[in-house]
Amino acid sequence: MRSRLYPVFKYTVIALWACFVAGPFFWAMTTSFKDANGVQGGATYLPWLQYEPTVTGWRNIFGGAGGVDVMQPFVNSAVVTIAASAISLVLGSLAAYALSRYRFKFGFIKNSDIVFFFVSQRIMPPVVLVIPFFYLLQWTGLLDSILGLVIVTVALLLPIAVWVMVDFFNGIPREIDEMAMLDGCGPFQTFVRAILPNSLPGLTVAAMFCVVFGWNDFFFAFRLTFTEVQTLPQAVVALNSSIPPWWTLSAAALFGVAPLILLALRVERYLSKGNLSGAVR
């Protein structure tokens, strides 16, 4: 039925897309090994042939003279992302477990409405939230602090954790809960001993989404922290200008996205069949 040209067509399309995907990374990689001469030479792609590679850009972001500090922003980003993800996963999976196992009725509000309430937060544009958060943090003295940024990041991540985990818990047979209770476990013990060990794939997907969204947040960090607490996306964007120290910017950008690319390679196999399509519903 399918013509012999079909594989040619298929691999051409995929190869073109692969070039489109890899292009920006390739460009950033080659640019990070340029200097003023290399950049001013116009668009060049091949080191040694078209320009002489140097490590100025990479030296600049790792404490070279006249460079920028990316290590402190990196640590800040990591602390905020990990703390906010952990809090969101704990609060989120507890709430999701309750929503998956018990019926709630407050007047006309049912379980599905509560789940919707959690997820509906994703509709709020950051710019609508950020002005109230600004004054809230100012009043509580948490503006420009790690703790303040962790709290607002939880706001971003908690809905994601609940959303993924409700769906995942719904897929775990209730017999597991009942067995644990027959063995004399209380509710919290059942959750910790029987449910959580069976939830690693779900928790992995939820944690991945939390870490990605937390690490990628720019807007909250941009408006709610200024000097002391600067996150990595802020540090990279601060380097961005039309006058190029492009080699430093490229090195910082690659350094900034590298943790997520490594994470993608690690968790890729969990994103098989059920997990992701389940997360949609």
Partner: protein
Amino acid sequence: MEGLRRHKSMFLLPGLLTLALIIIFPLLFTIRVSFSGWNVSSPQMDFIGGANYATMLDDSRFWASIMRLALLAGGTVLIQYVIGFGMALLVWREARGRRLWRVLFLVPMMTTPVVMAAIWQMIFHESLGPVNDLLGMLGLTKVPWLTESGPALVALMTVEVWQWTPFMFLLLLAGLLSLPKEPFMAAAIDGADAWRTFRKVTFPLMAPVSVAAIIIRLIEASKLSDSVYVLTSGGPGSSTETPGYYLYIQGLRDQQTGYSGAMSLTYLVLMIVTLTIVAALLARAFKLKGDS
């Protein structure tokens, strides 16, 4: 299970209360502020009635940004859906190398949007960037990508398509992989060709995943502002501004707090209404009723 009933709220309440504070406080705050004249010169929550909303109705820059967002979000999500679905169809029967496709499509959506926008800004640079270099090799003239309104919108859409098509691809591929086998066997026995099989079997079976993927992407696309900030700063003029970016300028840079509150609420309400209508229309278009 009986003994647990007393405990169920202990599981739910910590998360629920956290979220309630996080959503309800900003909403009440924004509603209150939107009726005040709070700005950079008079930082107080006086009550000035609907004056901010009246100003907003005459603010053509705000309405232009809303229309631009509709175009950008609708256009990019449609492109992402078509490319993502096409790619998923190309590889879903492929047993070999599936891991490679997944990695290839996972990476862009996991990278930080503003950081990638900074890289794209170099790529679209008029004289030093590779896009114009490639156009030159093809004998075409250079395009002022980021300094002219039309090309700037194209550049912005390119970045969005690059970043988020993989999301569509992964969801749709997951959907394809979980489809039942029987309808396809029946179609093969009936001697249906590839196009007919797609139209009569694959596409209808994929309707629920399609609608979900499109809605999720529309919700995220409707917040578009970070990459605008990095790539074009809303320029040239205000020709690439989205509501998110314009609100940032008004509310946080120029500190027209009351006025930006009014626009925030309007933006939020318009978004929810539009997305609800779009979701209903999509469900009808894909015939999502019972039989799926």
